[in-house]
Structure formats: C-alpha cells, structure tokens
C-alpha cells in the first residue's frame, strides 16, 4: 500500500510539470491551430536564463544560495523571475517572427517551423552557453529534506513542485474563467470570426496567450530544474513530448483536458516503471499505447470538443 502511495506521490510531481507544458501546447493549438513543438525548448531557454543569473550572482562563491538570508532570497527571486520573463518574451518573439507571418499557410508549415525553432534553441544553447554541451548542475534551492509518513517518502521538492502547480492551476482557471482576457481567449476558441466581430483582437490575445503559455513552460522548466538539479540543452525535448501527449489525451484546446492528460501520463509512467519489471524502458510505449486507445475511442481527446476539421 505504501508503495502504491509512494508511486502516486512521484507520479504527481511528474504530472505537475507535464501539465504546465501541456496547457500552453493545448491553448496555442486552440487559438492558432498549430502544435508548437518548440514549446519545451522555450522552457529550456527560461531555465538557462535563470541559470545564467544564478551563475553571475554566485560567481566568486561569496553567497550561499541555500542559506535563509535576504541576499540569497533576492538572488533566487531574481534568477527565477529572469527565467519566467525570458521564456515569456521568447514565446512572444517566436510567435511574432515565426507563426504570425505563416498564419495563412497550412498548419503543417507552422509545425515544421516550430521543429526548426526548437533545433535553433537547442543548438544555440549547446554552442553559445558556456559549457552548454555538458549537463550542468542547477542550484539546489529547495532543501533536500524529506518527510516519511508510514513508509512513504515525501520530499520538500515534491511539496514545492506539486504545491506550485496547484496554485498556478487555480490562478490560471480563474484567469480563463473569470477575466476579460480569459473570455476573449475562449471566444476565439469558440468562434474566431464572431469573436473578432465583437471587438476581440485575435493578434493581441494570441500574443498575450503566448506570453502566458511560454511563462508557464518556463515555470515547468524551472520546476524540472529545481527537482532534478541538473539541466542540459535538450531537456526541453522531453517536456515537449510529454506535454504534447498530455494535451492530446485531454483534448487540444482545453486546459482541463491538458491537466487531466498530464495526470494520466504521470500515473501511467509511474505504474509502468514501478510495478512492471524493467518497465521503465517501456513507460513511453505504455503512454503512447493509452494515447492511441483514447484517440480511437475519442478522436478529440477525453475532454476535447474541437471539431475534427481543425486538426
């Protein structure tokens, strides 16, 4: 029983990160009709921006970043904020430079374009970030302590990652359901032309959405970095794949679908890796098996309602 709970805790920490990536992929698709395969790489950009700030502030080794002090807290905040801002900005630039000019082109062109952007980001970090070719340690800000409850180990990191994700989800749900921006975005998902006729600027909303979605991806990247304390130039590829899978399982264009999909992907991975001998190697197979099964039963995903002609 405690083993099952332990795997559940592990799975939720994974799901939390996947969900933040999946939401962006899902909403971008809903609004521009393109799957953004560079989304995880945008997260990597944020992570490396954050790492750069850390490395700059910690250069010389005068400051202990794990200490409970005001300078350490400021440095941490500055670094994390830099990560979010860089991710958001690069998402916006990416949209304006790559997707926007292609808005009249077939979606496959936009998809290929995003693959290219992903390459550019990964190779740029690899070649231009100092020591970017090697995996680099990311400061361990969260204490490595853990709590053991009846055999189940809960790390502070678990609490941080899952807690952050839950708070962000609620804030996001509020934003989507209750604010003017959220309504404008949903009106575009419902009917683009009607939304425009009511005064919604699809360009402005899309730009805002790319800023928001990319910041969430940046947050996912930072959570990933703080969880594993190791970052590398291609860490975003995994995020893209998992986020995309979660978004498709849940139904593209639906944030609750993305959330549900992410929880499912995390659980399937944990169950496959945790309970099947040598299952870790096959967890991706299991996830994609479930994905295919769901798409056969519900082509628009679990909560999807977008009509098939959009895909």
């Amino acid at each position: 029983m405690d083993l099952i709970l332990q795997h559940l805790v592990n799975a939720l920490a994974l799901s939390a990160v996947y969900a933040l990536v999946a939401i962006g992929i899902s909403l971008f698709f809903g609004v521009i009709g393109i799957v953004n395969l560079a989304h995880g790489d945008i997260a990597t950009l944020g992570v490396f921006a954050s790492l750069a700030v850390f490395q700059f502030l910690l250069a010389g080794g005068a400051m202990d970043i794990t200490a409970l002090s005001a300078p350490a807290a400021m440095a941490t905040l500055a670094a994390l904020a830099a990560g979010l801002v860089v991710a958001a900005l690069s998402g916006v630039v990416f949209y304006r430079v790559a997707f926007f000019p292609l808005r009249a082109a077939p979606p496959i062109i936009g998809l290929l374009c995003s693959v290219g952007v992903g390459f550019i980001i990964r190779e740029s970090i690899l070649n231009f970030y100092p020591n970017g070719r090697n995996p680099q340690p990311f400061p361990a800000i969260i204490p490595p302590d853990l709590i053991e409850i009846g055999g189940v180990i809960i790390q502070y990191k678990h609490i941080f990652v899952i807690g952050t994700a839950v708070i962000v989800m609620f804030a996001l749900a509020y934003c989507v359901e209750r604010t003017r921006f959220g309504r404008a975005m949903r009106s575009i998902l419902n009917n683009r032309e009607v939304a425009q006729s009511l005064g919604v600027s699809t360009f402005k909303v899309t730009v805002a959405l790319f800023a928001l979605g990319s910041a969430l991806a940046g947050l996912a990247g930072l959570m990933n970095a703080l969880y594993y304390n190791l970052v590398q130039s291609d860490m975003g590829t995994l995020l893209t794949v998992k986020g995309f899978t979660a978004a498709v399982i849940g139904g593209l264009g639906n944030i609750y679908g993305a959330l549900l999909g992410a929880v499912l992907v995390g659980l399937i991975e944990a169950v496959t890796a945790g309970f099947i001998p040598d299952g870790s190697a096959y967890k991706d197979v299991a996830v994609f098996g479930v994905l295919i099964a769901i798409l056969i039963a519900r082509p628009n995903g679990l909560l999807g309602r977008l009509s098939a002609e959009r895909v």
Partner: protein
C-alpha cells in the same frame, strides 16, 4: 449613416457582389431581400471586414470602413448578428452577453446588461447555461441581445428567421422591431420577405450580386423608387422570376 457605393466583392474570379449602392439612415430599418446566393450574406460579411476582396466604398457615419480592422468596426457602433446566430456555444449566456460589451467599460456593461435583460427576460433565467444548450429561438434572442450590449448605432442581421418555427419567428421580429423603435438602425437580410417588410421602412432587392429593385414600405404599402406601387408578389418575382 451607412453609405455603400459601387461596392463589389469577389471570391477569386467569382463576383459575389457588383456595384451595389445602398444606404441606411440613422434609426432606420432597411431590409435586403433576395434568394439564396444573391450575395446578401457576402455583403454583411464584407461590411464586417470578414468578407472577400472589396472594391468600391463603404462609409459608416462618414468614416471609411475599409481602413478599420474587423475588431475595430464594433467600436464604430456597428454590430452584427450572424447567419446561424453566431453565439459562443461553450460559453454561458451571461458570458455571451459580457462578450457583447467587450469594448465597453465595466460600469457601462452593468448598466446595459440591465436594460438588455429587461428587454429579453428569458435570458435572465438561463444566465449560467451554456449558450449552445438554448433552443434556436432563444439563441437568436441571445444573439440580438449580445449585439445590443455594444450599444450599437446599427445592427446588421443575417437571416434571423432561418430554421425557426413560425411562432418563434414572430417573437424574433417583434424583438427586432422593438430594438429599432429604441433608435437603433437595422440592416436586415432576409428570405422571409413578409416578416422583413413588416419591420422595415425601406427595402432593396438583390439578385445575382446586384440591386434590381428598391423602395419604401409604409403601413404595408410598398412603393418603388420610381413611384410605382408594388405588390409583394411582384417583389418576389423580381428575384424568384429571374432565377429560372
């Protein structure tokens, strides 16, 4: 208020509209009659900036519409009720109404909302229901109510009677007439000539993308611009007759 001169639109090589001259004065209700494919919907979509390539001029209150992006035309005071109603199905009735006031201030929205709900009391009881679950007539009422939320000077309606039961059509047209009585100009595109003429003060007949007949309606008497008194059958034959 709305002046359209030599207005043409084409889908590639296919001319949907050619050389339309049309005008709607402030507070006036004008209907645009014509058979399927006559170009009526194309005209409305082009006026909203969603239609195909345009030549000629369309001015709203003296301002050239062509320089305004789609999303800015509502700010000029131009609202539209699309063919097939164009509600936002996954959003609630209340949210649809809020979206109608998207360009207005929060206080303004609250005030307008009160007036609109007073006009369509039914919508109050359906406030939190997804708009897609309303009946066809209710959706049409919602679409009109939503258009009112922007406090428009003119509303363009595209086939509001489409797919509705006769009794519901009457309610819808009563609502349109009421909106017009409150001073909002109406440009009504309709196939249901009888109902449309009951609301309108003037009419145009469109056939194959061109205006073939225009005139006024007063107490049920139809007079063409050439001074001829017309019967409804004659208007019908103006577009139905030539079709064959």
């Amino acid at each position: 208020m709305l002046t359209i001169e030599k207005f043409s639109a084409s889908y590639g090589p296919v001319h949907a509209l050619h050389g339309i001259d049309l005008r709607v004065e402030a507070g006036e209700a004008v209907c645009l009659l014509g058979s399927n494919g006559a170009g009526k919907s194309t005209l409305i979509r082009s006026l909203m900036g969603l239609g195909p390539l345009v030549s000629g001029a369309a001015h709203f209150e003296g301002r050239d519409l062509s320089v305004h992006a789609v999303e800015d035309r509502v700010r000029l005071g131009l609202a539209v009720v699309f063919e097939g109603r164009g509600i936002l199905p996954a959003m609630s009735v209340h949210e649809n109404l809020l979206m109608g006031g998207y360009c207005r201030s929060r206080a303004d929205i609250a005030q307008t909302l009160e007036q609109v709900v007073a006009l369509f009391p039914l919508l109050a009881s359906r406030r939190n229901q997804p708009a897609g679950t309303l009946s066809g007539g209710e959706q049409q009422m919602l679409a009109i109510a939503r258009a009112l939320m922007s406090r428009p000077k003119m509303i363009m309606l595209d086939e509001p009677s489409m797919g509705l039961a006769p009794i519901v059509v009457e309610q819808v047209f009563e609502a349109i007439a009421e909106v017009n009585r409150r001073g909002v100009a109406i440009l009504l595109v309709e196939q249901n000539m009888h109902m449309a003429l009951a609301v309108a003060q003037r009419f145009y007949v469109l056939d194959r993308g061109a205006v073939v007949l225009a005139g006024t309606v007063s107490d049920g008497v139809l007079t063409s611009n050439t001074g001829q008194v017309l019967h409804e059958d004659e208007i019908e034959s103006a577009y139905m007759g030539e079709k064959t």
